[in-house]
């Protein structure tokens, strides 16, 4: 018995005696069936279509199931779907659902639920929007079958329905999916996934609880990310929100929590010294640091100024500021896509890795830069943007540019970056952010690399050569064709500096050694995880 238990026992002895006590083995068994998890952020809302934050998706995969699911090779595998048929012309897809699928309210999952869910998902998702543009008819033909007729073949159908980037195509009951449009938040959390959401125990900002769904029928295959059998080895998963990393570290060491999704690198050595704690890379798809320049206004409407900045920047400086000296956690990149994934290429990417300040200065002088101030937005409440912003401000000053460093918060950056006004009229010159590696695996999911002018992401780059390759990638039927299109896209994006990646970085996760089954992945998958 440890000291705290002894103290507890002493103080509570009378009460326990009076109540008849709680059998120790029963208590221990219950504790072993509850997984206490500290997520990356607060679960502030729980509609994975309305709110596209990663923390919402990570909770949603417990509650809602998907038709397909990515495995660790980023290949979509059948999940709720038993099988599919594609017509000769590639325009008609017919899907059949698995038998025995059931929602948490006891109702069977029917094809019309799927149709309604897809209709709610499409307007919010880049791949969904492409499908919506091709949609001729999406309908349920019987309870387990639905048919999708398109105006043109869409080779990436299974990828669209099974990807792990937000928003994922989650299946919910028709009555919910039709009552709330994509831009209105649901207030009923009924899915058909392996866990039920215990709504009355949800305290946003503090706690979210999930209870095992007894009627869930997992697939027979072994679990592999979002694919395979999602077998829950615990009865209850408790998400404990801890805004303070030091507190989470102490709670993990003390055994008050079992698994921490994203310990900060400063605390990892402390955790590693504890023999009861295991530490490993969390998400091999990692993140890409970045800053975006405003292509509409001086000085960054001049491609030569953008090239000067890209040539001068040292990704090593950024990564060291972000994650420190641990070389396991970062690498420089010569391309825009996620390193280690099938489409990663460094074709034409020499400028990204140049890290040549002198050459950058010379290029800036030749660019015609006239000393226009750069309004540099830096959100101070996000460690990732703060660290990058400080490095950028220093870089630009050394390069010879005039910098107006605007220290603000993420909410304000979110509002101001949408403004197209000139920088001196409330607009901006550049801002910092990062992209989840799970999003940066193809040009449709990865809107940061798109360059379709007004339709592009903030900064509004307009590079037809980049856009020309997106349909080529979509139409590609072999990986070689896909890679060729992405190689050309990467070259054009670098030459025109669509934006500046600042490096690829990973993060750690940590857990108590009495917990097993934790895997590396873009989502903290709770299935297959058990406690002893």
């Amino acid at each position: 018995m440890d000291r705290r238990s002894f103290l507890k026992t002493g103080v509570a002895a009378g009460a326990v005696a009076a109540s008849g006590g709680l059998a120790a083995p029963a208590y221990s068994q219950a504790a072993n069936r509850t997984l206490r998890f500290v997520p990356q952020a607060n679960l502030a809302n729980f509609d994975p279509i309305w709110g596209t934050q990663y923390v919402v998706r990570n909770a949603a995969v417990l509650v809602w199931d998907t038709l397909y699911g990515f495995d660790d090779k980023l290949e979509p595998q059948r999940q709720m779907v038993e099988g599919e048929e594609v017509s000769q012309d590639g325009k008609t897809w017919t899907f059949r659902l698995r038998e025995g699928l059931r929602f948490h309210d006891g109702e069977p999952v029917r094809a019309r639920d799927v149709v309604a869910s897809i209709n709610r998902w499409m307007p919010r998702d880049p791949m969904g929007q492409l499908l919506r543009a091709l949609n001729v008819e999406l309908s349920a033909t019987d309870d387990r079958t639905f048919r999708w007729v398109l105006s043109a073949p869409f080779a990436k159908m299974k990828m669209a329905l099974g990807k792990n980037a937000t928003p994922m195509c989650f299946i919910m009951p028709e009555r919910i999916a039709t009552r709330f449009d994509s831009f209105t938040q649901i207030n009923e959390y009924v899915g058909s996934g392996p866990m039920r959401f215990v709504r009355n125990e949800w305290v946003p900002g503090a706690r979210a609880v999930f209870q095992r769904f007894e009627q869930y029928v997992p697939r027979n295959e072994p679990p592999n990310w979002l694919a395979g059998g999602k077998r829950m080895m615990v009865d209850r998963v408790e998400w404990v929100i801890m805004p303070d990393p030091a507190t989470a570290a102490a709670a993990l060491q003390n055994g008050e929590i079992d698994w921490w999704e994203n310990p900060i690198t400063d605390l990892v050595p402390v955790l590693r010294r504890n023999r009861n704690i295991a530490v490993d890379i969390a998400d091999p798809l990692g993140n890409i640091g970045s800053f975006r320049m405003n292509h509409l206004h001086p000085p960054f409407n001049n491609v030569r100024v953008r090239q000067a900045v890209m040539t001068a920047l040292s990704q090593q400086d950024y990564m060291t500021a972000l994650v420190g000296d641990d070389r396991n956690l970062w690498r420089t990149m010569g391309g825009f896509f996620t390193p280690g994934t099938p489409l990663y290429t460094e074709e034409g990417g020499e400028m990204m890795k140049a890290a040549n300040l002198e050459r950058g200065r010379a290029m800036l002088r030749e660019s015609g830069y006239a000393g226009e101030p750069v309004i540099c937005l830096v959100a101070q409440d996000q460690p990732i943007t703060k660290a990058q912003g400080d490095v950028t401000a220093d870089l630009l000053r050394r390069l010879g540019m005039t910098v107006e460093y605007v220290a603000t918060d993420w909410g304000t950056v979110g509002q101001r970056r949408a403004m197209k006004n000139p920088p001196n009229q409330g607009g901006w010159g550049m801002f910092h952010t990062w992209h989840a590696g799970a999003d940066a695996i193809n040009p449709v999911l990865y809107n940061a690399v798109r360059a379709n002018g007004d339709g592009a992401w903030f900064g509004w780059p307009n590079v037809p050569a980049v856009e020309a390759e997106v349909p080529n990638w979509l139409a590609a039927t072999t990986i070689e064709q896909e890679r060729a299109a992405i190689g050309r896209l990467n070259r054009a994006a670098v030459e025109n500096v669509v934006y500046c990646p600042t490096g690829f970085f990973l993060g750690y996760q940590a857990w108590r050694r009495n917990v097993s089954g934790i895997v590396k992945g873009p989502i903290p998958f709770a299935w297959g995880v058990s406690k002893s």
């Binding site: 607060n42 502030a44 934050q53 919010r124 831009f183 900002g205 507190t247 102490a250 918060d409």
Partner: protein
Amino acid sequence: MFAYVVRRVLATIPVMAVVALFVFSLLYIAPGDPAAVIAGDQATPADVERIRASLGLDRPYLVRFGAWVWDILRGDLGTSIFTNLPVSTMIAQRIEPTLSLMIVTLLLAVSVAVPMGVVAAWKQGTLVDRAVMAFAVLGFSVPVFVVGYLLAYFFALEWDLLPVQGYTPFSRGFWPWLENLILPAIALGTVYIALIARITRATMLEVLQQDYIRTAKAKGVGQRAILFLHALKNAAVPIVTVIGIGIALLIGGAVVTESVFAIPGLGRLTVDAILRRDYPVIQGVVLLFSFVYVLVNLAIDLLYTLFDPRIRY
């Protein structure tokens, strides 16, 4: 007296109206857009605009303010933009931890600080007095989070006596409730103890110089009775004032303490809401805090009559 209480309670209405107007206006002009946060990085400007419209954030200032005031008058604090839960529900979920933390802190602070201040005044210039004053300086100087981390390190990690974090509702038993509050209350209470101890000492020193104390001593009244019955009661008015003012200090400190000890209270709710621009929640919590503060001040004013019968309303 009753008329005074009624007058004071009625006087809270214009105060609350001013607070409401101020908070609403401040949030209206503050930068930041909850719709952009909700929409996420993949969203197009049109998506953000649709979300803004669905939340009613595109309506003019007066329309929004009028609707909010009308809802409040009907007892409805609104619905959180992010959680889709009524603000009153969110406050109800969070009020017990914060209230518990404040009560335990208050009890701890008063029971430790007042005797400390009294003893320091009684033993003026001695080692005891200097130790109390040194503690007071330290208490003022060390931030709450540093005290919190140190306490958690020693009492939870090193000696395994108390939990690091969390909150257990009172309904699950006294000890489970208390064990989660001991470290946060000490962390939060340190500065409060320092403040009350200093004021108690200073006031007591003044009172101990009074003629009636000398008379009591001459009559042979015991030291303890002089200190706690005669002197302390006469020193109580400024001490009670400081305790009242300190409640605002506690509310501010609770934000940090709740974060350090992962207590799901109103402080954390406020910070989360501010960072996300969850306007209805911010407005609801600020209104609640203002109301509590007004009531605390009223209670302090009434307490004066208890300690000093010369005060009449």
